[in-house]
Amino acid sequence: MTDLAKIRNFSIVAHIDHGKSTLADRLIQETGTVQDRDMKEQLLDAMDIERERGITIKANTVRIDYVADDGEAYVLNLIDTPGHVDFAYEVSRSMQAVEGSLLVVDSTQGVEAQTLANVYQAIEADHEIVPVLNKIDLPASDCDRVAEQIEDVIGIDASDAIHVSAKTGVGIHETLEAIVNRLPAPKGDRDAPLKAMLVDSWYDAYLGVIVLVRIVDGVLKKGDRIRMMSTNAVYPVERIGVFRPAMQVIDELGPGEIGFLTASIKQVRDTRVGDTITHEKKGCEKPLPGFKPAQPVVFCGLFPVDNAEFEDLRTAIEKLSLNDASFSSEMETSAALGFGFRCGFLGLLHLEVIRDRLEREYGIELITTAPSVVYHVHMRDGEVRELHNPADMPDLTHVDHIEEPRIKATILVPDEYLGDVLKLCQDRRGIQLDLTYAGSRAMVVYDLPLNEVVFDFYDRLKSVTKGYASFDYQMIGYREDHLVKMQILVNEEPVDALSVMVHRDRAETRGRAMVEKLKELIPRHMFKIPIQAAVGGRVVARETLSAMRKDVTAKCYGGDATRKRKLLDKQKAGKKKMRQFGKVEIPQQAFISALKMDD
């Protein structure tokens, strides 16, 4: 067990690409925690998808032994947090588990919205914050300007920011010293009943569920019987250890320490991020504050392209669920798409990650239907229904009103693009809450309906600002608005998978955009096909896809029979990527692409 005064727990707050992982790698390397030959780039990002996208989804931790200039041996625990807004709750728990943060800002770029959201979480968690200006080796580096910006925008003192090049190693030693000297040691009572926070958990094929914990009070030992306070489930602890970053088994974890436990927990679902772990007997009385069960905010349907793969999809979803408590699923049937699942996600990134994993790791080709948020449908009889799927919209005569989730969006943007950003937010039914300047950049804060953001807001924002804007959001609650269900009819038949909830005033614009998109996406058939958008039986937009006029091979002689036959066979296989609606075939990508707005 480590003396509390010799422990420093910290996280790194940074925007994607500002060098968080590289800095973490250097700290690990500098202290000799990992031999040079074992270093691989970005040690802490394990999953392929995370690595490819340069993002971290699961919290990772590493214990670093460091002998400081004062001659004392310290234990530094770094928690690498998921950086994306979809995982804001997970970030907040990781922040609660440490006492300080390194705020890493790219000295060639400056503060971004994502940094802002995470640094506010750090401030909320009462962190001591050490600003680190990274990439000072680059010619475009401007430490003075960025330090000033940190002071202006975030409001913390950046006069003693550390100047670092994680790439060349400059400033790494100073960073380690700052962690020791400027961050506080954790507090805790070794003799109090066990109180530990469940920071994160994941499934390991050999060890079962691995739980990342931060001990607040008391001591956790191998063989202890522990209780999850939110569920009262009891488990015997099998293994205790720390990450360096490889797993190392130790005997016990005391106050202030961060490590892992395994306890023959079968499903990640049984472990809830933010939960308090105590002993079965003589446990602590009150759990740690701030625990929230995971709440999906975005829903969509996932259907196998090939209906025969439904069982494979079920198995794959079950397996993924084991390792992801925030991902929900229930079976869904669609007249158009057959059997599939309605799945809930923390956000769009989470949705994409899960979908990619299903396609990549399990080899199942999927049709993804329009993402939807959760609406609160207030019925005339006082009942409030949660609507996850526009197809389930109850009969309007029984509906009193509908509420939709709203978010507070923070956008940082160079001022030359400000006009476009304001227009985008306005078009998406936003209400401006704040507009301030920091140097040549504007910070705008909008109250926006989540349903306007959920699909392609971020893509649009990137495109109107040429990628210079950064964006973050938090949920701020529900508000009533005039929302209607819009149906799409292809050749007079409603296509349930294309139904969307829209604001009444936006129905025509959205409807027009959708039918125009579908006209491009649906291949011409041998007959003309009307494509309509309708709200409550009234057509709000219509297009007609004209009939195919010519599709015939000019030359076909004796040498062409084999090739033509094989081509027909291939086309038969390709048809599996189409879905039949009455007489019309709709390609799978239409279900997502139809919703993209070109504004």
């Binding site: 041998m526 010519k550 015939v552 000019a554 076909c556 002689y557 004796g558 084999t562 086309q571 038969k572």
Partner: protein, 387 residues
């Protein structure tokens, strides 16, 4: 029992793979060679004919077709020797049709008499356009005047002469094509092949198209209109379409090509030639080596130029019968199709298509209507779809 192929007969295809230059639109198996030892080629063709005759046994051969490449680069003696071997190998029908594809150049025209003496009784000329600028764009070496002259020589030499034109060319309008077609009809005797320009992968046009540098191709609607006008103009001139791209006065159809579309048996010799042969009650697809050198070597060293022989299941035969047979206006025999595969057609789609007026069943024949013909590929996909 009557074998399926006997409904349509037996023919021989001879592939001559060489051209003087390659045309940018053509994806046929063709090569430019510095020099060709015609003697070697002649011997190889003759050995192939003997090999195949030994397999098929004596059956009446009704057609021979020299295709390419540019078969009019063959010496008349080579053609003569091949046809002598053919006549020895199989009993020939009295009215056997022997076609040779010819380039409409002055040099070729000089060989026409020799071809006739060898036994050729029909030529099909690759005129392609009646406009010098377009001929250049299509990579053709001849001009319009030369083509007309060669055509006149052909007319006076052979009983039957056909020529090819390509339409929906770059920068071509519907009216320009209609005018050109009328001019062609004034020259034509009894047969015309009229092809919409198709951009094929692996050709110079294909590469240019992929790179976005093939400009001025008529849009789909214009091409469709050119097709429709073609049907009207030719029908009015007494040369209706008997196949998607082929027009003839009744009785003057290419019997060799009809044999393909009626899904008969055909032997294929020369590089890259395909065949369909029924041997001992089983039907085979045959292919030969594509590369001229390889074909010649294989033929000499193993006694056969064949690179592939694969049995075609009756179900696949049904598909081939359908995709070939629906190209011709007479259509296919439902009885014959049923005998090959009773479940070949998707009955729901079949009914839909009948209802839409895209196909029609008259007696025991199924055929594509005039309305359906430009949509044949889509119709085939429907008829053969599984759901």
């Amino acid at each position: 029992m009557t074998e399926d192929w006997q409904n349509a007969g037996f023919g021989l295809y001879v592939h001559w793979p060489f051209c003087q230059s390659l045309c940018p639109y053509c994806d046929f198996n063709s090569y430019v060679a510095a020099s060709i030892d015609q003697r070697q080629w002649e011997e190889a063709y003759v050995r192939e004919i003997k090999r195949l005759a030994a397999e098929t046994g004596p059956r009446v051969l009704s057609t021979v077709f020299f295709g390419g490449g540019t078969p009019s680069l063959m010496a008349p003696e080579t053609v003569h020797a091949i046809l002598d071997a053919v006549r020895t190998a199989w009993p020939m029908a009295n009215d056997a049709e022997i076609t040779l594809e010819a380039n409409p150049g002055s040099v070729e025209a000089g060989r026409f008499r020799g071809y006739r003496e060898a036994g050729v009784n029909r030529v099909s000329m690759g005129v392609q356009a009646l406009n010098d600028e377009d001929l250049k764009r299509l990579g053709r070496l001849h001009g319009v005047a030369e083509a007309r002259a060669a055509f006149d020589v052909a007319r006076s030499t052979f009983d039957r002469v056909s020529f090819d034109l390509i339409y929906a060319r770059q920068h071509q309008t519907v009216d320009q094509w209609a005018a050109e077609l009328r001019e062609a009809l004034s020259m034509a005797i009894d047969h015309l092949s009229l092809y919409q320009l198709t951009i094929e992968q692996g050709t110079a046009f294909g590469d240019r198209y992929d790179a976005g540098r093939l400009r001025g191709l008529p849009p789909e609607d214009d091409a469709a209109e050119m097709y429709e006008r073609t049907q009207e103009i030719c029908a009015a001139a007494g040369m209706p379409a008997y196949e998607i791209s082929n027009h003839a006065r009744p009785g003057a159809e290419s019997r060799h090509n009809l044999l393909y579309w009626r899904y008969g048996d055909y032997a294929g010799i020369g590089p890259g030639a395909h065949g369909r042969l029924t041997l001992n009650g089983r039907r085979f697809a045959t292919e030969t080596h594509l590369q001229p050198g390889k074909w010649l070597d294989a033929q000499r060293s193993t006694g056969s130029g064949e690179s592939l022989r694969e049995e075609i299941s009756p179900a696949d035969q049904a598909v081939e019968y359908l995709l070939m047979g629906l190209r011709i206006s007479e259509g296919i025999s439902l009885e014959r199709l049923h005998a090959l595969d009773p479940n070949a057609l998707n009955i729901n789609k079949y009914n839909d298509l009948i209802y839409s007026g895209l196909i029609e069943a008259a007696g025991r024949q199924l055929r594509v209507t005039g309305k359906g013909r430009p949509l044949l590929n889509a119709i085939l996909r429907e008829l053969l779809s599984e759901d």
